[in-house]
């Protein structure tokens, strides 16, 4: 679902970005975790991607003020999360580590979060938050006996109990089964549509494609790319698009496309398929149906081979 960022181009006073990072660097001893990263994140769902050890967790911790950048600034809702304690009222964090307070039940844990956030009615807020993540409210068992999936959902509940404006989630989908993951993704989308700023780090790329298409890719502590991943793919102009065409007459279609100069290279695959390479994917998309009709061929399948987020990721990581 292409996340149409709600209300672009608002022309009010100098707008305050939910997340604004400029020139942030962080190192532990001589290990440079994050080096000179700048970006802005608006409302809606943004995915933070990157190989293991790329500095994602460090960046998320800086966003919440859990650790200070050695250089550069991090602004959440206009304030400095490291100094301004009041900001924590409007930030929700789902940390990566699995451990929660072993002796508490789910309700007690989420209610504690509500109390510490200073809510008027922590009980009602806890009941609502647990309802959203589909967790029973009256489960008397302590969290130490919970499975990974249940623990993950309790962690999300404590992060949204105080209805924050910025929600940071560090690999929230690990350990969830397909049904729970689908439910959690819909939750993120709902929060994003509702004007919240949701930033999620994840490794499961085909799930991330479902959050929305806005991504931040970090590699070796630096920002490699930012924006809608399909737009990023367009920018990867030094790499031709490869598209697989299946038809009853693949040769006819390929030669038709070659004549129009829309396609640079063709590789036939078996009797009914051909993989074509084009550096101008816009023209190709306009021409392929027309050529098929011209040569009277049935067009069974047209699927880009490196248009998905995974190939964008491999491209950025591989550079």
């Amino acid at each position: 679902m292409t996340a149409v960022a709600r209300g672009w181009g608002f022309d009010g006073p100098e707008p305050v970005w939910p997340i604004e990072v400029s020139g942030a660097s962080k190192w532990f001893g001589d290990l440079v975790a994050v080096s000179d990263v700048s970006f802005r994140v608006g409302q809606g769902v943004t995915a933070l991607l990157g190989p293991n050890g790329a500095g994602k967790s460090t960046m998320l911790r800086m966003l919440c003020g859990l650790t200070a950048p050695a250089r550069g600034t991090v602004r959440i809702l206009g304030g400095d999360p490291r100094r301004d304690l009041g900001l924590t009222r409007r930030i929700g964090l789902v940390p990566q580590q699995e451990v929660v307070f072993e002796s508490l039940t789910a309700f007690e844990f989420v209610r504690l979060a509500g109390v510490l956030q200073g809510l008027d009615d922590p009980d009602a807020a806890a009941v609502r938050a647990l309802g959203i993540v589909e967790m029973p409210v009256d489960d008397a068992r302590p969290t130490s006996t919970y499975s990974k999936g249940m623990r993950q959902r309790v962690k999300v509940a404590q992060a949204i109990v105080h209805d924050p404006d910025v929600i940071v989630l560090d690999e929230p989908l690990t350990g969830l089964d397909p049904r729970q993951r689908l439910h959690m993704i819909h939750l993120f989308q709902r929060l994003g549509d509702d004007g919240k700023c949701v930033i999620v780090s994840s490794h499961v790329l085909d799930e991330v494609e479902r959050f929305g298409s806005r991504v931040l890719v970090m590699v070796q502590g630096r920002l490699a790319a930012e924006g809608d991943f399909r737009a990023i793919r367009e920018l990867m102009d030094d790499r031709p698009h490869r598209i697989r065409i299946r038809s009853d007459r693949p040769r006819a279609i390929s030669s038709g496309l070659l004549d129009r100069g829309v396609v640079m290279g063709v590789q036939l695959e078996g009797a009914d398929a051909a993989v074509v390479e084009t550096d101008n994917v816009g023209h190709f998309r306009q021409a392929v149906a027309d050529v098929a009709r011209q040569v009277g061929a049935h067009l069974y399948e047209v699927s880009p081979l490196d248009d998905d987020l995974e190939s964008v990721f491999r491209y950025l990581v591989g550079r």
Binding site: M1, T2, G50, P51, N52, G53, S147, K148, G149, M150, T174, G175, L176, D177, P178, R179, Q180, R181, L182, H203, V204, L205, D206, G282, R285, Q286, V288, A289, D290, A292, R293, H298, L299, Y300, E301, V302, S303, P304, D307, E310, F313, R314, V317
Partner: protein
Amino acid sequence: MTDHSNSSGAPTDLAGRAEEVVVGKGIVKRWGSVTALSGATFTIHRGVTGLLGTNGAGKTTLLGMMLGLHRPTEGSLEVLGLDPVRAGAAVRERVGYSPEHHTLPADTTAQDLVRHIAEVHGLPHREATGRASDALWQVGLGEERFRPIGTMSTGQRQRVKLAQAIAHDPQLVLLDEPTDGLDPVQRDDMLALIKRVGTEFGIDIILSSHLLEEVERVCDNAVIIAGGEVVASGPISELTGADRGLLVEVDDRAPALIVALRAGGAEVSIDGSRLVVTRSGGSADDELYDIVRDALVESGAGLRRLTNRTVSLEDVFLEVGT
């Protein structure tokens, strides 16, 4: 291709291994008041099999029972032709197991660990050393095998876990979430490795995972557990693939395309950013392809993607696993 036939069913020249690797009949398992399995009946054949299920559906319990660690409350289970409860040691000698957690002894080297596990599975000392070194090469660990495991990355640790599961030449390997914690590039390498073990090495694999896209990419067949019962099982090609019309994605002019398609006599519905095009009969015959092709030309929409809308493993999982 080596002269070793894989899961095509023809008996191999190796001791004529049986076609059914694991057979379960009406398996029930209760932990006190909690019923983990309530009558699971299934047959797992040679090759790579995906074991799927919602959290707490009994997957881990089933893996434990295959290793003879828990006794079924009712029903019977047969692994490699043996009863894991009575002949537990004999079964576990021929089975490799890679647990879900990443914790491994931090101060031991990968070579020592894999050799020790091979020995514990019954190999004499010298053979174990040789095979451990082989297994570590096969999983792509070069000189870092002599570094303590504590200094290894999650990706390397997962490879060590796989190496210790195959070093003693098992007939069957149980992998519990083998790609947990890996980033996309590491995940692809690990899946390719698992595919090689299942085909080239001739070792049958049972892969328990939450990521359906992985199972579809690596496994030949799948067993889906829900509510303690096996709700679907069989070759993935049969489980998925049923035809449900066409999926069309376009850059622009979607409304114009929809009008053209409906004019051509096709039914159109919207699923997120994609159009689902079907005929009243539901199947995608040549005529439907032509309608789509002509509608595209007419509306001038830029075609980004056109594919058959087939049942994915996720559809099966969500519909079946109610």
